[in-house]
């Protein structure tokens, strides 16, 4: 019998706000322990929460980006359980009236892991349905010391958005693609940086297996607190395999909450939180309900960006880019914007795209801010390359200089003598010299070995120190060799 997995995700994303969800403490990673706290987020007697408008707007915006229905009325509830990293021993969350319900995320090919992009699952264009998106407060961070634990409450009370999917996923790669897509959308909306290093995306996964073709769900197990997209893939792979092994050898899956040890590649049952599933949710009497209609929704709509998929197809259609080029550009909205500005100053956006994706990105990695090049210079450079004034190596050289000190690229090329030799007579001289100096290659070519022309071409390029257009040389050599 073959089995398939049924997977649902709960994705927790830290929102990019200046302050925490219910108090004015800064929402900042990496500060001195317990330096971003106040009576509210420490749960001191008498302190009261007041919701941060920006966090509410960002959650509504996320809902809009993912096609959710924005509820006209939402409220906050208390989720009660004791845990030392949670100052009030209840978490303010949203239970039965979240800000967003429903929604859908489709999985583009390039969101899949590279090694799976040619598989049918990546090409299927699957749509994953969302159950809901809600807003809640994060807990503090605990450190395990020798015989006790230490707690830093800087993170306590920071805004956390939870995106819950339907159990629509069937493979680890789909989960990977979903998270990659969600990450891209959230970055588009400037809702979160989704920086894994800083724990800005954390994920709980529910997994069960069932024989292919059956409808009923198997018993699910939950893996909590996965903190990177690739860890989700690895954990799922492991868990699915062990559940299938268990079931196919006649065993039964027991409902359980697990923790993933990424270093050892195994799941470990969690001992606590098991008994505490009686969360006693009730509406937080310290907080008024929220009406989303009006200002909150209008503001979210105003911040609505062009979405990744829309951008990709527009880039393809407007500039004639390939799927790959469009995707890479779209994955980096500031870069895509820059490309589009530069594109206004070139006749050949495709060359511009190549320059951007090959040379510009390579240079950007080790230079501070290449985007300081005025976009029109970048566009002009693309023209110089596409009309043959510069070859691609020279283009790269001019680009490097542009980054140091922006000037019109034509000036740089002339000054450095970088322009290609385009005088046909001069080029013909070099070609004739090559023919004279390489009788063997000439003979080979005339004997039918077309590739022999390459060594003649190499000779010319060497002589011209690269300042010739290889394509032109090729054509010239061919016509000279064909001369009777």
């Amino acid at each position: 019998m073959t089995y398939e997995a049924v997977i649902g995700l709960e994705v927790h994303v830290q929102l990019k706000t200046a302050t925490k969800l219910f108090c004015g403490c800064r929402n900042e990673f990496g500060a001195e322990p317990n330096s971003r706290v106040c009576p509210v987020c420490l749960g001191l007697p008498g302190a009261l929460p007041v919701p941060n408008e920006a966090a509410v707007i960002q959650t509504i915006l996320t809902g809009l980006m993912m096609g959710s229905s924005i509820r006209p009325r939402a409220k906050f509830d208390r989720k009660n359980y004791f845990y030392p990293d949670m100052p009030k021993n209840y978490q303010i969350s949203q239970y039965d009236q979240p800000l967003c319900l429903g929604g859908e995320v489709s999985l583009p090919v390039l969101a899949f892991p590279k090694d799976a992009q040619k598989e049918p699952q990546a090409l299927a264009g699957k749509k994953v349905r969302l159950v809901r998106i809600h807003l809640e407060e994060d807990v503090g961070k605990s450190f395990h010391l020798e015989n006790c634990s230490g707690i830093d409450f800087n993170r306590a009370g920071t805004p956390l958005m939870e995106i819950v999917t339907e159990a629509d996923l069937t493979t680890p790669e789909e989960a990977f693609a979903l998270l990659t897509t969600i990450r891209e959308i959230l970055r588009y909306g400037k809702v979160s940086d989704v920086d894994m290093e800083k724990g800005q995306l954390r994920c709980d996964v529910n997994i069960s297996v069932r024989p292919v073709g059956t409808e009923a769900f198997g018993t699910k197990r939950e893996i909590k607190n996965l903190n990177s997209i690739s860890a989700v893939r690895r954990a799922l792979k492991h868990e699915i395999q062990s559940q299938i092994e268990l079931v196919s050898s006649g065993g039964t899956v027991v409902q359980e909450t697990l923790r993933w040890d990424d270093a050892r590649g195994e799941t470990i049952p969690m001992r606590t939180k098991e008994q505490a599933h009686d969360y006693r949710y009730f509406p937080d009497p310290d907080l008024l309900p929220i009406r989303t209609e009006g200002r909150l929704r209008t503001e979210a709509e105003r911040r609505m960006p062009e979405l990744p998929e829309t951008k990709k197809s527009r880039l393809r259609e407007t500039y004639g880019l390939s799927e790959y080029q469009a995707s890479v550009l779209a994955s980096d909205p500031p870069l895509a914007d820059y490309f589009e500005k530069a594109a206004r100053s070139t006749r050949n956006p495709l060359t511009l795209a190549n320059l951007t994706l090959n040379d510009y990105l390579a240079l950007r990695q080790d230079s501070p801010d290449p985007m300081s090049i005025p976009p029109e210079y970048f566009g002009q450079l693309a023209d110089l390359v596409s009309d043959g004034t510069l070859n691609s190596r020279q283009g790269r050289e001019v680009l490097a200089i542009l980054i140091q000190a922006p000037r019109p690229p034509k000036e740089i090329a002339q000054e450095r003598g970088l322009t290609q030799i385009s005088d046909s007579q001069v080029l013909e001289e070099f070609c004739r010299e090559a023919i004279a100096a390489n009788p063997k290659s000439v003979a080979d070519f005339k004997g039918g070995k077309a590739a022999a022309i390459n060594s003649l071409k190499g000779f010319v390029m060497k002589k011209t120190r690269g300042q010739a257009n290889p394509q032109r040389i090729h054509e010239l050599l061919e016509s000279l060799l064909r001369e009777p």
Binding site: C38, P39, L42, G43, L44, P45, G46, A47, L48, P49, V50, P51, R78, N80, F82, P84, P87, K88, N89, Y90, I151, D278, R280, Y281, F282, D284, P285, D286, L287, L288
Partner: protein, 480 residues
Amino acid sequence: MSIAFATIHELRKQLLAKEVHPKEVVESLLDRISSVDSRIKAYNYLHPERALESAEKADVSLPLGGIPIAVKDLISVRGEPCTCSSRLLEGYIAPYDATVIERLRAAGAILLGRTNMDEFAMGSSTENSAWGVTRNPWDLSRVPGGSSGGSAAAVAAQEAIAALGSDTGGSIRQPAAFCGCVGLKPTYGRVSRYGLTAFASSLDQIGPLTKTVADAGLLLEIIAGADPRDNTCEPEPAPSFSTKLGEEIRGMTLGVPKEYFVSGMDPEVEAAMQKAIAHLEGLGAILREISLPHTPYSIATYYLVATAEASANLARFDGMRYGRRAPGCNDLLETYGRTRDEGFGREVKRRILLGTYSLSSGYYDAYYLRAQKVRMRIREDFLTAFRDCQAIVTPTSPMPAFRLGERTEDPLQMYLADIFTIAVNLAGLCAISLPCGFTQAGLPIGLQIIGPMRKEETVLQVGYAYEQSTSWHTLRPPLG
């Protein structure tokens, strides 16, 4: 007469006329406290040096300049303990000021000390305190009421000029009635709760306990008004509540709920009430019988709503970040369990259990949600009633102060003592309690005047008219 016996208004006059110095006021109160508080135990904590220091610098031109105010021990004052009369908060020093404290400071008030209470405001007798019981100044064998029993006793025993209390189901009004002083519960949302240790968030309000109605109005004006730190606080600034003081109540319609005069009321309380009604009629008010049909459900509703909220509000007291942690525990679970078992008193545990139970899996709809719905019915009762009257008059409590120890282990009997005050909190209304007579044994009896939401000036107007035409408020307990 000792300065300590003065009202805020009297003292203000004397301070402005430089007849007394703020330091003398503080000293006079400290004297009074040292001579009577060993018998009353109204205070948990005093800070004489700090009070004298503020008196030295007091600016008497401010609305409360140089006037000492006592504060119930569950409101946060920066640099001071805030024990809520609980062992669990032993050692805790609040690092911030409650909004009402900021406002008192800005108005020039001097913070004199912290008054005793039922632990976490749970109780009607101030017997549930980790620091000992407070006694009624009129009869030391009786309770002062609760939970703001320390504040009421301090004001009645002339150990404070005025005090702040908090009222969740009658915790200002009932002790005011038992001790023969004035207690005002403002409309829900009128006074910021920021810095008030929460018992039941949707019911709690801070309010004044004073010697006169006019003082209650003045103190309320200082502490009321919008606060961006409390989401449930009304966004409007506080109006002047005292504008109608002295306006006659001739022609005003006052409702008398028929459901409040059924069974269980002490005959002396009932008699005093009938006299008060006659007196109000004598002042020209029109008394009319009204109906609040959901009255029999208010106690049940209250105990479900209040305990559910409390069970979550009190979860933070676990000895992890502040307060007393049980020593010598082996693990986390034991630390939680023993810290809370040793730290909380019996009444608090009882209510946490009830609240936890009523929210637990499977019971939410039947208990908490239903109670919230019945609560809306109770609110509708009042909305309907206020179509026919401008205020409602009732006894504050069905009985005068009871004996110490009389009701501690019969929770239901204790809860029933709050029957006339609870509905006001459930409906979010404002109400005042003021003295309207004494029993044969010399125990004060309280008259409650309930107003619609945001109509504090009406209850103050009616209260003032009654007070100024009677002399109950001038009587003092026989403490020597």
